[in-house]
Amino acid sequence: MGDFLNIFIKSAFIENMVLAYFLGMCSFLAVSKTLSTASGLGLAVIFVLGVTMPINWIINEYVLIPADLEFLRFILFIAVIASTVQLVEMVLEKFSPGLYAALGIFLPLITVNCAILGGSLFMVSREYNLSESVAFGLGGGFGWFLAIIALAAIRERIRYSNVPPALRGLGMAFLITGLMGIAFLSLTGIDPAVFAGWHPTPAE
């Protein structure tokens, strides 16, 4: 449990997907104009990351590695993500029209959100196990959600400020994200495991 929480906190705050690795930047910048749409997309990202990460872990561990087909990883991962998104869309439409209406337009966007594929690729390169990859998926998604609602809230406020015309919109979004990235840097070096006493000494 300690490891689960540790990875969750790490991936949500300390190694934030957007602010430390710049994953999912396209939709992050494009869909952060208003708070409501931003939170819709953020929720969808948490959901899809949490679902695709364990599926991709199982495929990687029980299909690709035993069959020595690791060069097919990209194609299979993206196929899993695309079909999961499609499936989620259909299930939501049938059983939860309210949630579908809220997330509907964002789900297709998520297929090409680098945070989803990036999460799966990081999971492979960091050699997580199944529960760790679930924690990483949920934590990473939560971090992404936090970042996009923060940016959207700031952008909603900044609309009333006197910004140089050439910086309006996109330019300011870049600057704000950069500043947020620096703010999040202050969290680097924190080891939640040590802090909470799960491990007596810092992990090497």
Partner: protein, 262 residues
């Protein structure tokens, strides 16, 4: 399953043969021309319709790999290759791809090309491959590739789509390398570090390294630069955001038509 699928495919091509022959006849006339219209396809994405600063596509990798020039250059070449050939392949197949599954077909084309790039880099330039790590795989979800397939290649002839792919790849690469130059020069004082032609531009020279502009206080042509120290902010990922923001600022101040009104 398979026979049904193939007959369905054959039927759909038969239905469209009329369209296809007209199309190919027109294509033959226009093939491989390189006039003014084609030149615009390459030059327009470099500045006025740049994928990163104007279309806001493909930003993720633009930020993550640009702390050094050499990896940025490799990334730019890789992305140009993928955009050019995925546009070509999609455009060749655009009449037989069913609308409902077109995203998955496009993703498979892109993923195949990216796998090729990945394997090639692993063999040819292993250190850079290590440095770029997951960002090579992330070319698949680089919005610029899919964006161009959706916006251009699905509706245009192969040769024009190929040129559009090259143009957008180059426009993307231009920003990538420009950001890389700024970040590496001010952050590390060098250029092309890690490649065969590494240049040390500015910094305190010692026995092992020789900088073009020497900033050791006692000696050297640039000794009056004794106060200079590398700006570590530039090495941080956030610096890429600031550099691109400044590019956007400059570009939109110069060309006020591009200013965001909303």
């Amino acid at each position: 399953m398979v026979p049904i699928a193939t007959t369905a495919m054959a039927e759909s091509t038969e239905v469209k043969t009329g369209v296809l022959t007209e199309d190919t006849a027109a294509e033959k006339e226009a093939t491989f021309e390189f006039g003014k219209k084609e030149k615009i396809l390459i030059t327009d994405p470099l500045l006025d319709n740049n994928p990163i600063t104007i279309q806001v596509l493909g930003v993720c990798s633009a930020l993550a790999v640009t702390s050094l020039v050499y990896p940025s250059l490799v990334m730019a070449v890789a992305v140009t290759f993928v955009t050019a050939f995925s546009s070509l392949a999609t455009s060749l197949m655009r009449n037989i791809i069913p609308k409902a599954v077109r995203l998955i077909v496009q993703l498979v084309i892109i993923a195949t090309l990216v796998t090729l790039v990945n394997e090639a880099l692993k063999v040819l330039a292993f250190p850079v491959y290590k440095q770029l790590s997951v960002y090579i795989g992330l070319i698949i979800t680089n919005c610029i590739v899919m964006g161009r397939l959706e916006a251009f290649a699905m509706a245009n002839k192969p040769w024009r789509s190929f040129l559009d792919g090259i143009g957008n790849g180059l426009g993307y690469g231009l920003i990538l390398v420009a950001v890389g130059v700024v970040r590496e020069l001010f952050g590390k004082g060098s250029l092309f570090a890690g490649s065969g032609i590494a240049l040390n531009i500015i910094g305190p020279s010692s026995d092992s390294t020789k900088y073009l502009i020497n900033t050791t206080a006692e000696s050297g042509i640039g000794s009056f630069f004794g106060w200079y120290a590398n700006n570590n902010l530039m090495v941080l990922p956030a610096a890429a955001m600031f550099v691109i923001a400044v590019f956007i600022w400059l570009q939109r101040s110069y060309n006020t038509k591009l200013v965001d009104i909303s």
